[in-house]
Amino acid sequence: MDSTLFSYLDYAVYGTAVIVMLIGFYGAMVKKSLLKIVIGLSVIDSGLNLLIVAIGYYKGGTAPIFSQGFLENFKSVSKMTDPVPQALVLTAIVIGFGVTAVALALVIRLYRHHGTLNIDEIKNLKW
């Protein structure tokens, strides 16, 4: 794998992440169904997480795990992918999960209260 190809691939990863996010934004901003909006928000989160992981990735990096081999070949510390973004992503996923759960609970409440999932019809509070 030569470096040019890799950089294309790199861009491809970033690009995919951005596209996923944009899809999520589209879902959240344009779709009228509450459920689709929640899905959209989740998709944004996924795209974002992908982006974060991609930032932490080096070409040919190893998993950031302390192992016997790692300790023996200390030089390879530069070859290790950055562990921090991965840790962050784990946290972000958990938080995203929590938010999605809350949102879905609210959707149920809203449906019971309004009898609809169309966000345009849920406008009792305004101005």
């Binding site: 934004f25 959240a28 901003m29 909006i37 966000i119 345009d120 406008k123 009792n124 305004k126 101005w127």
Partner: protein, 615 residues
């Protein structure tokens, strides 16, 4: 502890205790109320030495309280009228609702006015100014929900004024690094020209609102007429003088020192003149005594503003003398209306008539106050008017003389309307039960009427302190020798000696009274007002012949074109337009969560687009 602290503590504590004393006993409340006004007033005049300052630091700002001759003059108005009005209020508020509320705010506003006069620094000045505003506002809305918009209009205008003042204050602080008034005056001549012009303008806005100066006067008629009359006498008599006090300070200590100051003076003088005319014209038209007096207050304050804006020594004397007189006669007149309202339940000319024989003492006070208001000799109002005209003529304000004179002549119309409407005319059975107001209400009125009578002949009593005050402001003392006698003198040397006038008037009057009633008086028989000859017809008992509806119609028809345009309407239209805009603006909050989320994206995009511009 310094007397000034004690005075404020008594005021504050008195206000709180008076409020809660109503829960124990009504009389206790009255007594506490009187104590918390009269005791500080006594302490003030007995113990506060002129020229002594108290310094304290609050919130990192050094404050200074003290009094000089000039503010002492105004404290005479505030605490003198305040004390009398307090006595009157005890009678007026008997059996009314919300006495604690009224007393609390009454005491606080007297405290605030005293505080304004004691303030030697801008922050405490502003603090007391605002306390004065809200306490008087709270009394203005005492009468309930009908006056809500009136109260809010008052507060909004006051707030605009006060905030303008606040801007000026912080700008001064920015320039001088100090909040002391002395420092401001000291630094003023060296300021940049724009500051030299804007700072007085902003101060004058604040003072113009309180002094009900055109075009900031629109709140005044409503507020004056809807507050309880016991307070309105202070409101119109003393509180409006705080505007005059501040205006005088600004004009004398700041505007005088710049060449552009003459424009300030001219504009203010003309605004005062126009205020006088507008106030008078509207006063003539009113059928409600309170409104009439309220507009009349606006007009009278116009004279005072003109006087102090002209700014020659004679004009200052005239303006300040009129200020004192206005406090006296307008205080009395509002008390009269209050007494009538208390006794009859209404203050409308078209309803009440023929009270002269039922409320003779009230009538006497009203008569004297009206004569003083109209500026007719021998009462004190004449002295002020005379000096005002003379100062206007001798300082070359020819057209202004005509304007003021017109207002002052037209004032006779409402003066007569007031006296006739209440006291003269047919005595109707409907009001047969009316009794004279209680002594506690009549006494303050009579005391003030007596003052007016005395001041008409011996104006030196009050001109002397005014003279001291003007010297404290740096005026020359060119009339000093006159204040011990009763001579008033203009800048050209023409003079009026007042004592012979009083004696002549009294002599002639007594002679003709004697001539008319000698012997004959006992033989004549009193007949009711129904027993008149009206074109040969004698009206029946139940016929109401009182002429009170459309009272000044002929005059009103003559000036009607001038009164079609009301500033008030423009203000209201502006406010309505503003609220409509606000109504439109708040539709941004559509209620759709998705839209809100889109706003976030739009915000980010806009920020990113303008990032080079912003950062």
């Amino acid at each position: 502890m310094n007397t000034i602290y004690i005075i404020f503590l008594i005021f504050l504590g008195g206000a709180v205790f008076t409020y809660f004393a109503g829960k124990i006993h009504k009389v206790l409340q009255d007594i506490l109320f009187l104590v918390s006004i009269l005791v500080p007033a006594y302490l003030f005049f007995a113990n506060v030495e002129i020229g002594q300052n108290v310094n304290l630091t609050l919130g990192g700002i050094s404050l200074s309280w003290g009094i000089n001759y000039f503010s002492w003059l105004f404290s005479l108005i505030v605490l003198g009228l305040g004390s009398l009005a307090a006595i009157y209020a005890v009678g007026f508020m008997k059996g009314e609702k919300r006495r604690g509320y009224f007393y609390f705010n009454f005491i606080l506003s007297i405290m605030a006015m005293t505080g304004i006069l004691l303030s030697r620094d801008l922050v405490s000045f502003f603090v007391f100014w605002e306390i004065m505003t809200w306490s008087s506002y709270l009394i203005t809305i005492y009468n309930g929900n009908k006056v809500q918009s009136i109260g809010i209009k008052y507060f909004v205008f006051s707030a605009i004024g006060a905030y303008a003042m606040l801007m000026a204050i912080v700008m001064v602080h920015h320039i001088t690094g100090s909040f002391l008034i002395g420092d401001m005056i000291h630094a003023y001549p060296a300021m940049a020209l724009s500051m030299q012009i804007w700072i007085p303008i902003m101060f004058l806005m604040a003072f113009g609102v309180k002094a009900a100066m055109m075009p900031l006067h629109v709140w005044a008629p409503g507020a004056y007429s809807n507050a309880p009359m016991a307070y309105t006498s202070v409101f119109s008599g003393a509180l409006s003088k705080m505007g005059i006090y501040g205006m005088t300070l600004v004009l004398v200590t700041m505007v005088n020192h710049i060449p552009q100051g003459v424009w300030f003076r001219e504009v203010l003088a003309w605004l005062g003149g126009i205020t006088a005319v507008i106030g008078t014209l509207w006063a003539i038209q009113q059928d409600d005594a309170k409104k009439l007096l309220a507009y009349s207050s606006v007009a009278q304050l116009g004279y005072i503003i003109t006087g102090i804006a002209i700014g020659t020594e004679l004009a200052m004397l005239a303006g300040l003398f009129l200020a004192v007189m206005h406090a006296l006669f307008k205080g009395t007149l509002f008390m009269v209306v209050g007494a009538i309202e208390k006794q009859t339940g209404t203050s409308n000319f078209t309803e009440v008539t023929g009270l002269i024989r039922k409320m003779p003492w009230t009538f006497l006070s009203a008569l004297l106050a009206i004569i003083a208001l109209a500026g007719i000799p021998p009462l004190g109002g004449f002295v002020g008017k005379w000096m005002l005209y003379e100062s206007l003529i001798t300082s070359n304000h020819y057209l202004l003389v005509i304007v003021i004179f017109f207002a002052s002549t037209a004032a006779f119309l409402y003066c007569y309307k007031f006296l006739f409407g209440f006291f003269m005319g047919q005595e109707e059975k409907e009001w047969a039960h009316v009794k004279e107001a209680p002594a506690v209400m009549v006494l303050p009125m009579l005391i003030m009427a007596l003052f007016m009578l005395v001041l008409g002949t011996f104006p030196g009593i009050i001109l002397n302190p005014i003279n001291h005050g003007l010297q404290a402001l740096g005026y020359a003392d060119s009339y000093k020798h006159l204040w011990d006698t009763s001579i008033i003198l203009n800048s050209w040397g023409n003079k009026v000696v007042l004592q012979p006038i009083l004696y002549s008037i009294a002599g002639i009057f007594l002679f003709f009274i004697a001539f008319l009633t000698w012997k004959g008086y006992k033989n004549t028989r009193f007949i009711s007002t129904k027993d008149i000859s009206s074109s040969g017809e004698v009206p029946k008992e139940d016929e109401n012949l009182t002429f009170s509806v459309g009272f000044m119609q002929p005059f009103y028809r003559a000036v009607e074109p001038a009164m079609r345009r009301q500033i008030d309407k423009y203000y209201n239209a502006f406010a309505d337009g503003l609220e409509a805009t606000f109504e439109f603006l708040r539709r941004i909050y559509t209620g759709n969560g998705q839209t809100y989320a889109i706003y976030v994206i739009v915000f980010v995009v806009v920020m990113l687009l303008f990032k080079d511009f912003l950062f």
